[in-house]
Symmetry: C3
Subunit: 417 residues, 3 copies
């Protein structure tokens, strides 16, 4: 069992799949629309911007499902369903949130599950972020807070993660949906009586409309998604993936800095074990002219697979031991916690690594005015508390953005674009 959340194999597969997807996607959606033009078109307008007719896209029963995201096969299946059978029962809940005039969603892809960072390309990210922005408005105005009324989300947590759970549950409830909670799902399943994850999923999908799952085993989310006929969101599967964290990180950079192309990002701290920094580096490679600085104690340096991937994508990167210098150049300093649990008995190594790169007032002194400090939280003392009051300390805003991203994903998975 590897600790790396993005294996070299994954990274290569990703290149192939994404190319295939683009080609098939265009062909299939064109074919489908010409042959079976059942999807109603309608004008949607909520803002003064020009609204174009967009294809209405609706959450569909997906049974059987295949376990490849946005692959040609799934795309075909999806379009096929779209034109053949539509789950009408809960349409009335669906409202359109006003799509941008430039991005014609609905004709290109449909989110089935959220399992790993690799399933998102630049275009999908942009579309999700647009929805997340709408969610910020909804949360503040409470006017659209009913779009998920009547929907039930099950939070199936096989290991506790109160922060992530509350964020998802808040997202669901802010949209008018309801939640079934379990924090000790281990007792539900195999640990207690030997039931397989698959059987548990088949039971829970009978009680709910969407499953948010946290698991202690890498790959568990993928297994759940391939079993479930309702959408599954991976809320972290052991050392594997935590894709909603990856999305909120990129979203936060765009919100704080205003762009993703051309940014300079310093990744600091535990770069070997931190799945967040690995996913972030992976996703940043989708943008142009990005430069990444790695600042880590030797014992937890960024691994070669990510470095190779960045190079293959033409992303400039550099290792540095000088946090001050990096901080003075970057738009984003992404600090992370040195994870004690990775060091076992070697407390001495942990203590050494942990004190090495601290974001404090001195670092803030050289940080550019427009730049920000991010952190996936929880934070120990790798950012000193006297930094919290600085407007460039963006980590609590980042946590809040997790709410908007999760609202957006719940909306997209349950109602479509």
């Amino acid at each position: 069992m590897s600790l790396s959340s993005l294996s070299t194999h994954d990274l290569q597969r990703d290149l192939i799949v994404s190319r295939l997807t683009a080609r098939f996607s265009a062909e299939l959606s064109r074919d489908c629309r010409q042959q079976v033009p059942c999807s109603p078109s309608r004008s949607v307008s909520m803002s003064p911007s020009i609204s174009l007719p967009v294809t209405q896209s609706i959450y569909l029963p997906r049974n059987p499902k295949q376990n490849n995201f946005l692959s040609p096969a799934k795309l075909y299946q999806k379009e096929h369903f779209l034109c053949k059978s539509v789950k009408n029962e809960k349409d009335s809940h669906a409202i359109s949130l006003g799509n941008s005039s430039t991005f014609s969603v609905g004709t290109k892809f449909q989110l089935d599950d959220v399992i790993e960072a690799q399933q998102f390309d630049r275009e999908i990210l942009s579309a999700i972020f647009e929805v997340a922005r709408e969610m910020e408005k909804i949360e503040k105005s409470s006017s659209g807070a009913n779009i998920l009324r009547g929907y039930l989300m099950a939070t199936l947590f096989y290991e506790p993660s109160t922060r992530t759970r509350l964020s998802f549950e808040s997202a669901m409830k802010r949209l008018g949906g309801e939640v079934l909670t379990t924090e000790n799902a281990r007792e539900f399943s195999s640990a207690a009586k030997g039931e397989t994850l698959e059987d548990s999923i088949r039971t829970v999908e009978g009680y709910s409309d969407i499953i948010v799952m946290r698991h202690f085993e890498s790959g568990a989310a993928r297994r759940a998604a391939s079993t479930a006929s309702i959408p599954v969101i991976n809320a972290g599967d052991g050392p594997g993936q935590h894709p909603t964290q990856a999305l909120l990180d990129v979203y936060t950079i765009e919100r704080e800095i205003g762009r993703l192309d051309g940014i300079r990002v310093g990744l600091v701290g535990d770069l070997a074990n931190g799945r967040t920094v690995r996913s972030l580096a992976y996703l940043l490679a989708k943008y142009n002219d990005v430069k990444i600085y790695f600042v880590a104690p030797d014992i937890v340096k960024m691994k070669d697979d990510i470095k190779d991937y960045l190079s293959s994508k033409g992303v400039e990167w550099e290792e540095s031991a000088d946090l001050m210098e990096v901080a003075s150049k970057c738009d984003v300093v992404y600090q992370t916690r040195i994870q004690r649990e990775r060091f076992g008995e070697r407390i001495d190594l942990y203590e050494e690594a942990r004190g090495k790169y601290i974001v404090d007032k001195k670092v803030m002194g050289v940080l550019q005015k427009h730049a920000v400090i991010l952190h996936p939280l929880p934070r120990l003392d790798e950012i000193t508390v006297d930094v919290d009051g600085d407007p460039r300390a963006a980590y609590f805003r980042q946590a809040k953005n997790g709410l908007y991203i999760r609202m957006a994903l719940l909306k997209l998975l349950l109602l479509g674009w």
Copy 2:
């Protein structure tokens, strides 16, 4: 403390009570209506079937309550309340779901609590199943999802049972109700500070409208029900009863096979300890021309009390060691898990018992086309996973039926028929 959920004593008591009930019921309801005709009558129609005027029956405050279900005393008390004081406050929530023209509910009985399988006779089962069918429609259409809006259910679980808890909570929320959850009620009560169950119930009834209780002690549900002035549903009390499981099992047979009279049922696996098979055998005795086959390793054979009861009711039964032969004859094969926890240190005996009767492709090969495999879940390897895809594998549909039965019971206990 006996492990049998249906003691011989219970079974005998049942015979006496049910006869008394029928007689008193008819008399009392007639008396009540003649003397104090306060219950409004109204026509209810939702289907094209002919609708008859039915008596409106409303959830009533029941204080003090007595601890015998549908007994003459309780019936009298109930009718008395019906005609004297009606809790008006939440009437507005009540909607009629359309009663069958042949079953005139409301004049015969009112469910106060759901404590044990013995409280249900054939007529009540039929009436509950009818409501459960309506619930299937409600869950799918989401049109009637508000009938329990404003009601609060407390899930008071003194031992964890995530599957059962989620099923009840989903049922409540699908009907628009709300839930107060506690999974570690032991900390709430005696275990921590020595409070009695009765005191805990008196507190919780102040916070909610209905209590769903799971407890580790046989008889706890009955104690709770006799204390509470709001309805109590037993979600399993230790080795005692789990009546909603028994109801969903019978409901599933009717849904899958289309009838209950004249069916042949094979009960397989741990028949000594499994409370579900014991309750199922008990309830099946209420139907005509039923034949039951017991297929169990010697060490966990069906006990004599149930066999005697079946014989006294004229139900044919037979023990068999040949699962293939039984499977070829039956309409329903009800497989159960051999419960390791019953074997203590004797792992060898457990392993021997466990491998003996497996439902696999070979068994499916001899199973009749219209027959089904049931299982209360969780399932280990007593049904092989390659059976899951067979349309006759009905155990996940069975789990789903638990939702409809629980929706029906919540509706009946809170709003009446």
Copy 3:
């Protein structure tokens, strides 16, 4: 770490603050209204009583907050905000519950947080109790059950207290609000990964509109309140405070006896460690002609700080070893549990203390007809169960009053008066 919930220091501070508050409050509110008359006035009428124009008071964003309740500084800040920036987003939820014609709320104070008994004076208590009375009506009629629709309460419990948690969650849901629950918040925070309480609060405030916190450390609630920009309610912080219990105790006395001035109250049991009796004595000192009797085993006698405080306030008090005599004189006998956990290894001392003063049928025999027995629950055998049926046994009604007080506080903190 002291076990006393109301230190002498607190009691002195209280005297000073309350005087300052009264003076500044009058001045500031007058100034504010004259200079910046932005607060709209409107007539509110729900009852046949004469309604006066009252100033509308709205929940406000409070950032930064200061950690002194109703102090001049906070009052100024509050009024300042009231007149400058109003959080409009959720106004539509706010409904007026009909204010008494004699108490012009909104012009005098605004509740920001509920942290300790000392923040309440007689006038505030009276105003809260009035709202609690309205809540009794709302709970029964379910007509106003939507006033908190769209609001999210986070119950952040760092130690389990199912009773208190369910009471708060029921209160929130009875008013149409939603709840994010965590019972094992220790895993959320420092205990697991070393996160500070302050960081946890900053995260949770992004997901919710109000935080109800239970903590194992005295002073934790105050720290949380000074961090959060949303309201915080202390649901018990270790040996510190449990202010909502104190409020419901006083409310219950008023509801049961009909008045607070002139009452005679016997406090019985563990008076040294019980924070409820200490807070109750403190709050009773705000009323006229109160007489308090202390009946406790020597080892758990009421401490001098409270006695001195009562004397300084002119409250008559007396120690007695004769429960029968006290019971015959009092309007209220407030029994408490001897807390075993306080005695450590000295089980003998515990057993001796515990059996000393029992409220039983004999005590009920001398109790006046209008008098009542109260108890904060859970109860062991310091009140015998044969007393429960006596109408003067008011402890379960008292528990129920906790619901109304908490409904009132949630309403006041989220919507204002």
